[in-house]
């Protein structure tokens, strides 16, 4: 009796799982069938953007599918996936006449780095992946970003825009871009607070960096540092996080 019940239950479970498996497969194949296929997928633009949690990134993400010769492939399938909470509009489709596929990405509700995966299928049905990284800022770090934009980026960001010309090239001692993780990750929070509050001379550096401790509040400096830590490349690892090994 018991054996029979167990057997029935197992059969039932198998049926259910097979059913959902089927449903998933059909959903993946719901898009138009690919007309062509390439061998590699590369990023055209839209990687390493800094956006806000739960909001669409300022620029769309554009990827391109190429064949062995490096020529763009039209009509190849591209699909995007990411961590829970990340949404793509559209999530999958075919490359256009220039071999590119464009999607608008909204990051999840949690601040941090998000890894997106764009994939295409080759002729032999092999999946080829491309990893793209984006950063989502929460309220605190967005505040830091606003402060960076107002006070810091004119010197620390070497890129000029028509609206704002960068002062970077005019400086005798070049400031570090905030994404320069190699340098900034080696500085402790206390050092960063000191150099922002008291200027370059506080750490025996150039007086070109003025003190902002009388202009910005402590909370604002904290927000700025939280932002700098978030966007640094390579990523910043906070010290003192000792994980007990099980």
């Amino acid at each position: 009796m018991k054996m029979k019940e167990l057997f029935l239950a197992i059969v039932g479970l198998c049926l259910v799982s097979a059913g959902t498996g089927c449903a998933r497969q059909s959903a993946a194949a719901a898009g138009p069938p690919p007309a062509a296929s390439g061998t590699v997928i590369v990023e055209s633009s839209g990687g390493k953007q800094i956006g806000a949690t739960g909001t669409a990134l300022p620029q769309p993400v554009v990827v391109q599918v190429n064949d062995e010769q490096g020529n763009a492939v039209t009509g190849a399938s591209v699909s995007f996936s990411g961590a829970a909470g990340v949404s793509f509009d559209p999530p999958r489709g075919l490359t256009d006449s220039s071999g590119q596929f464009t999607t608008t990405v909204s990051l999840g509700e949690m601040a941090g780095r998000y890894q997106l995966v764009a994939s295409t299928t080759t002729k032999t049905q092999k999946k080829v992946d491309l990893k793209i990284e984006e950063v989502a800022l929460d309220y605190h770090r967005r505040l830091g970003q606003l402060l960076d934009d107002k006070y810091c980026s004119r010197c620390h960001n070497p890129e000029s825009t028509p609206e704002r010309v960068s002062n970077f090239d005019n400086l005798e001692v070049k400031p570090h871009a905030f994404t320069e993780g190699d340098v900034l990750n080696r500085m402790s929070d206390a050092d960063l607070i000191a150099i922002i509050s008291h200027g370059g001379p506080a750490l025996n550096r150039s007086p070109i960096m003025p003190p902002y401790g009388y202009t910005l509040s402590k909370a604002e400096i904290q927000a700025l540092i939280a932002y700098i830590r978030m966007i640094s490349d390579p990523p910043y690892q906070a010290p003192g996080m000792v994980y007990a090994q099980k």
Partner: protein, 683 residues
């Protein structure tokens, strides 16, 4: 014993057997029932999350500290005066743990740092959801009893807007949304009552249509109404999606209804064939692009958004009107933000030729209209009333309609059950508001709200601002709210006041809380600058900042006007903080000047941002200081160096906490920089 129940004992026995066994069964049943309540409590969701939290912290280095902070049981934040009963921290256990910022497992991550403590305001006031609930489903989602789900984080700034009624530096999205509501005429049709009293006011008045026949043709009105964005991509006017016959009749009515303004048309000016480049250079010299935008060959808009886009102005403006407008816009529209430039006849002719050439030959190609009939004019008038055109535009003979569209004062608390959603649309209030802005006409046939062409980011901003207009915002006690400062209606007096109105100084400069933010605030200009520099600047405004594109135009002022303005500015616009003459503008000792020079270049490295010596210094951020000694007063320089934010809040010049001696020496050095007088000496 009653006949209807002849043998109770037997029934009892049939069901339960003998009484003792029955008693046993009933007792067991009762015990089991009694056990359900504690069991339900024991297996509750929040307890599950608290156990998960304890498991998680065990693997961390700071486990002991976290363990000590942990408090078991339901955690509640209770502030009845602001309506907060939040139990969120029962599951979100690590909210306040500074070390848990890196946790990716919810609900244990630390809350991002915000200017308020959760203890003081709770969670629901910003995030929405149901604070008193103790299950995930009830707290986060819409349920039968409670339909306010958690607010998606993209709209989180709406929470700030409930208490902060003025714009906050740290809520750019909310500020943008409120500015859009005021600028795009939303508040002209929809009343938005502010919690402090009063209503949200439009910041831009749409042009009056009472005299439109002076300005443009019926054909242009037809093409414009058909698709305003086809004429100007940056047009504020939305698309009303009207039928061609309706547009024909509206244009017929507007032209028939228009009355001429004396002086709004000017006869052609006998001019020499002017150099085609002269127009472009006059347009550039007059800094028209500070306010007006033009689409360049690459399709990008270049210029400001105070005035209308001029890409196809030649298709719109009648030459005789444009001529009179360029000469003195205040004759046609006394309230315009455009300054009266005092152009010479030759300049007016050059500008007219340059602007009229900005046209698109295809633009009016499809607008062929037969002469209007009285029926068309009458139908046009009824359409103008039906679509509420007079909500934004002044139209003679038609009153501004009241309560034309639904009031939005509490739209952010509108119950979902009262909303009609489109198919395949998520049933939530933010999605509804965003959808209504994105495609207003899709919600029902016959709706009148026009189609705007907002970007997705603008729609998010508008939704955020509207979500802040909700029930809590209207009922929060004054102790927790920061009211909107009263709007300033400052107007300078006398003759100078008339000149300033004529030049529309307030379109760019703010004084005493009124005016634009494109140019510096002039409230304390009299303490700041030297009179001679001010007069020279009126005569020939130069730029102080090398990297700045927008700057002050030259207005061809007469000497008398310059004297009147300078007198007024030097007298009326002084700071109460110090006397202008408290420090001399020159005559400091050579040692002090030399000390100042060393401080400038070595200790404070001012040359990183400012230029004193054109050959050596390259600083590109702050104003050029080559002539600062003939521009600013000694007292202003000194007090500026001591605390720039005290004189101009929000300036990016850092406060360096200078001691008096260093500030004096730097003042001495800077007052010596009199570049202009050197040039004069050379001449």
């Amino acid at each position: 014993m009653q006949p209807s129940n002849p043998n109770p004992g037997s029934l009892w026995q049939k069901l339960f057997g003998d009484p003792i066994r029955a008693f046993g069964i009933v007792s067991a049943l009762l015990l089991a029932l009694l056990a359900i309540a504690p069991a339900k409590n024991y297996f509750s969701e929040w307890r599950h999350y608290q156990k998960g939290y304890l498991r998680m912290i065990r693997t961390r280095g700071e486990a002991v500290t976290l363990q000590r902070h942990f408090q078991p049981g339901i955690q509640q934040i209770w502030h009845p005066e602001i309506g907060v009963t939040d139990r969120c921290a029962s599951c979100h256990v690590g909210l306040k743990e500074a070390s848990l910022t890196d946790v990716s497992l919810q609900p244990y991550r630390r809350h991002p740092v915000i200017p308020h403590s959760t203890e003081q305001y709770g969670c629901v006031i910003c995030h929405r959801g149901q604070g008193a609930a103790t299950t995930v489903e009830e707290a986060h989602s819409s349920t039968l009893a409670w339909e306010q789900p958690i607010l998606p984080s993209r709209y989180i700034e709406s929470g700030c807007g409930q208490c902060h009624r003025a714009s906050l530096e740290s809520t750019p999205q909310l500020n943008q949304g409120r500015a859009l509501l005021a600028r795009y005429g939303c508040v002209q049709c929809h009343v938005i009552k502010l919690p402090d009293g009063g209503t949200m006011q439009a910041t831009q008045d749409a042009p009056s249509l009472s005299h439109i026949a002076d300005k443009t043709t019926r054909e242009w009105i037809f093409a414009w109404l058909k698709d305003p964005q086809a004429y100007a991509t940056s047009a504020t006017m939305p698309n009303f999606k009207l039928k061609d016959e309706d547009i024909r009749d509206i244009s017929a009515f507007l032209i028939a209804n228009s009355t001429p303004v004396p002086g709004a048309n000017a006869p052609p000016i006998a001019q020499k064939a002017s150099d085609p480049a002269a127009g472009a250079s006059l347009y550039g010299e007059s800094f028209c692009a500070s306010c007006h935008t033009v689409q360049n060959a690459a399709g990008n808009l270049v210029g400001g958004n105070v005035g209308p886009e001029l890409t196809r102005i030649g298709n719109k403006a009648k030459p005789e009107w444009l001529r009179a407008w360029v000469r003195n816009p205040r004759l046609y529209d006394p309230k315009t933000e455009m300054p009266h430039y005092r152009f010479t006849d030759q300049q007016v002719a050059t500008m007219e030729g340059f602007l009229l050439a900005k046209s698109d030959s295809d633009f009016l190609a499809n607008a062929h209209l037969d002469p209007a009939t009285p029926e068309q004019v009458a139908h046009g008038k009824s359409l103008v009333m039906e679509y509420g055109c007079a909500s934004c535009h002044e139209i003679s003979g038609i009153k501004k309609p009241e309560n034309f569209a639904p009031e939005l004062s509490r739209i952010g608390s509108k119950p979902v059950s009262q909303l009609i959603f489109l198919a395949a649309m998520p049933h939530s209030l933010p999605d509804y508001i965003a959808g209504k802005i994105r495609q207003p006409r899709a919600f029902a046939p016959g709706l009148k709200m026009p189609q705007y062409s907002f970007t997705p980011a603008q729609i998010d901003a508008l939704t955020t601002a509207l979500l802040a207009q909700n029930d809590p915002a209207q009922s929060l006690p004054p102790s927790v709210t920061i009211p909107l400062p009263a709007a300033s209606h400052y107007r300078p007096a006398g003759k100078a006041g008339q000149i300033m109105a004529d030049l529309a100084c307030f379109s760019c400069h703010a004084i005493n809380g009124r005016g634009g933010d494109m140019a510096p605030d002039l409230a304390w200009e009299g303490s700041s600058v030297q009179r001679k520099w001010l007069e020279d600047f009126f005569r020939n405004p130069g730029t102080l900042r090398p990297a700045l594109i927008r700057r002050m135009p030259k207005f061809n002022l007469t000497n008398e006007e310059i004297t009147t303005l300078s007198d007024y500015i030097m007298t009326a616009y002084q700071t109460p903080d110090f006397e202008r003459d408290s420090l001399p503008d020159s005559g400091y000792s050579a040692t002090q000047v030399e000390q100042g020079r060393q401080l400038f270049y070595s200790k404070y490295a001012c040359q990183s941002c400012h230029i004193v010596d054109v050959k050596a210094d390259k600083g590109y951020i702050g104003p050029t200081l080559t002539e600062v000694g003939s521009r600013l007063t000694g007292a202003w320089i000194y007090h500026w160096l001591k605390n720039p934010q005290a004189l101009r809040p929000g300036t990016i010049e850092p406060n360096r906490n200078l001691n008096d001696e260093d500030a004096k020496s730097l003042t001495a050095f800077l007052t010596m920089q009199k570049g202009a007088s050197k040039k004069e000496a050379k001449k």
